[in-house]
Symmetry: C2
Subunit: 415 residues, 2 copies
């Protein structure tokens, strides 16, 4: 049976899965603290797998815990279409970030069941492990392994601030699967996600068709100095690594303000030091900062300023700085054909949409390295996210879900 | 028997106690990491108590673990003289900071035994608990309780970064004594300490007679903001408490440089934040900073700048700052008669000495609140301290110890 062109998803059913998820791994009031590979993550995975099996989907789990729930097509020799996101959250996370995208995939497949329609190509709903990086840094780990950017052994050896090892926790919660974490041939990857910024909400729109990501540049740097007494040590003999780090964070924040007028951003995200005690100067520190700007050339300029500030900050504090890691993402990475498909469906259903650039990292950035990829954004109130007050209403998702539903069918059924 | 005026201490015996101490609670190469109330602290206390008992001293321990090793006088109705310091160290501490002062007290009493001299007043060597504050902040806790600045219950409820409670650890190592932590009438308090600054070493002198302490002003402040995504959140909507803290530390360090020409110092000592993770802005942070200057008026100016910088830093980051604690110390707090006694003995024995101001906090600052107090500094190489490379030679202590020895006798025997 074909799917009526005016058929929409079952928003009540979708919302009931959002609400069930919101009970698992509760954090601060209204929010979630469902760190990857925790007991709460296991509980959520179990519930998700149960839903998928009830829907007649065949579920498999790879060696890094990525969950694939597959609905066969009429020609299973063709590469599948993937719809995915993540069920883990930040330590002070909301109820929608990532979660809505995974449950959107499930709703699309359930709705195809309702319609009794077998697509030509198979479709797979995916939950990626450790998107947030809140427990094991960096973010988007398992999707990165899936596309060959990282190795599974590297991921398993990641250690969290709590001293736990990724691989051990994966086994402990029973989600270390037998299949290799590697992308075969994939026809297309779709991801629906809340915007995590204020634009759609401010403009009263329900949909953003994502054309790409803000070119972004991040760095993790270390500082080395020398412990000494906080009192008698003269200023010019001090080698306080904490001051080196604080100066870098301050300088990076200044860069953000300098470029804010055209929506540039700079983030001083993390600073640790040792011993970091009241009576002693610290001899080591580590910090993570990044810069983002819609224009790639300007991002490069900001990144260069961030780099210079790093060494100047260290020198001012009598310390040595070292860049431990460096990463870039964003740009026009999404597939034009797939983005057009979303544009056309958005127009066809009369959605209130606009084009938008993503400013956050997403698993879709990794998937774009191996297959045609596109994203749909839906609004969240005030752009508040990574916060327990992250808020969406069911009607915020209706248009985005319907665009996803019909775009996936069109892609899956094409000749 | 009277003590010959040219009798000196037994430097080899003193040094052997320094070397024995240096085996207990080893840290980085050459240094110690003997945190207060740890197993290593217990081991050191046991050894010290053993030495005291061998020397015929009567040992008592108060409710906060302060150890008093008493040598009776000929008139025990007179208030005693105390010689003290601390046996605990920083997490990356040296072998002399504090330790030399406690063992100096022991050597003075042992040497009086050698001389067969009974002083008129009793003399007590003291080890103060938790001088460093490296495990339980603030520093100089038990000497503060001794003089009535803090209560014993307050001290027992202090919790360390390791989650342990002062009172529980005190009981665990068996050093929670029965007597109340409170000063009775005390005739005088002497403390010998390494300088912890570079002045004596640079000038090739072996003794500093401490006239007082740099007026100092410290603050512990908290910052509150809001968690949010590190990416899309516009600069002017961010409330990143980590940035507020980093800006304050940077501003305080700048204040130190502005006043460095006349030996002002400012220390950004500690910064913690939550969640302090790469993907999320932090909603809380806490920081400790202080300023010091030889001139009390200038210290006030520096403190006022530090206070303004606190609120400006918070405002710039969209956060709220709160001063959680504030403290001042230093000034001309030592007893002129006692300082003169040290000056005269230094001149009499032909020591290479100078007057000096302390720039660090010491238990002596607390004792000065309840009795005549004075301090003797001895050099340490390059002024390096709170570092495993802290270094002294036996000859660095000879003159200081001999001044202490004869000054204590003169004070104890006076009419």
């Amino acid at each position: 049976m074909s799917v009526p062109s005016d058929m929409g998803v079952n928003i009540d059913r979708f919302w009931s899965t959002i609400e069930a998820s919101a009970e698992i791994g509760r954090g601060r009031p209204g929010g979630l603290s469902r760190l990857t590979l925790s007991d709460a993550d296991r509980q959520m995975r179990d519930v998700f797998v149960g839903w998928c099996k009830e829907a007649g989907l065949s579920v498999s789990v790879d060696e890094l815990g990525n969950i694939f729930a597959r609905r066969d097509g009429s020609d299973n020799s063709l590469p599948p279409i993937l719809i995915g996101s993540h069920l883990d959250t930040q330590i002070n996370g909301g109820r929608f970030d990532g979660i809505a995208g995974v449950l959107a995939g499930l709703e699309v497949l359930r709705r195809l069941n309702d319609a009794g329609h077998t697509t030509k190509r198979p479709i797979i709903a995916v939950n990626w492990t450790n998107e947030e990086g809140a427990r094991y840094s960096p973010p988007m780990v398992a999707s990165g392994c899936f596309v060959g950017k990282y190795t599974a052994d590297w991921a398993k050896d990641l250690v969290g601030d709590d001293g736990s090892r990724f691989g051990d926790e994966l086994e402990r919660i029973g989600y270390g699967g037998a299949t290799k974490c590697a992308a075969g041939e994939i026809d297309a990857y779709f991801e629906l996600h809340i915007e995590q910024g204020p634009i759609l909400d401010a403009e009263g729109r329900k949909v953003g068709i994502v054309t790409g990501g803000y070119p972004s540049h991040g760095m993790r740097a270390s500082f080395s100095g020398r412990t000494a007494h906080t009192g008698p040590t003269p200023m010019d003999l001090r080698q306080n690594a904490l001051v080196a780090g604080a100066r870098w964070l301050t300088a990076v924040d200044d860069i953000g303000w300098d470029f804010a007028v055209h929506d540039g951003k700079a983030t001083a995200a993390r600073l640790t030091a040792w011993p970091n005690k009241a009576g002693i100067l610290s001899d080591t520190a580590e910090a993570v900062c990044d810069v983002r700007h819609p224009d790639p050339t300007t991002t490069k300029v900001m990144a260069e300023k961030m780099r210079r500030a790093l060494f100047e900050s260290a020198a001012k504090a009598g310390c040595i700085a070292k860049i431990e890691d460096e990463w870039q993402w964003g740009g026009d990475i999404f597939d034009q054909e797939l983005v057009n498909l979303l544009r056309n469906q958005a127009t066809r259903i009369g959605a209130n949409w606009r084009e938008i650039q993503s400013q956050a990292g997403h698993d879709a950035y990794h998937l774009a390295l191996c297959c045609p990829t596109a994203m749909i954004f839906t609004p969240c109130k005030g752009g508040v996210t990574h916060n327990n007050e992250e808020h969406c209403e069911p009607e915020d998702f209706v248009e985005g879900l319907n665009i996803l539903f019909h775009a996936v069918i069109e892609r899956a059924d094409r000749d």
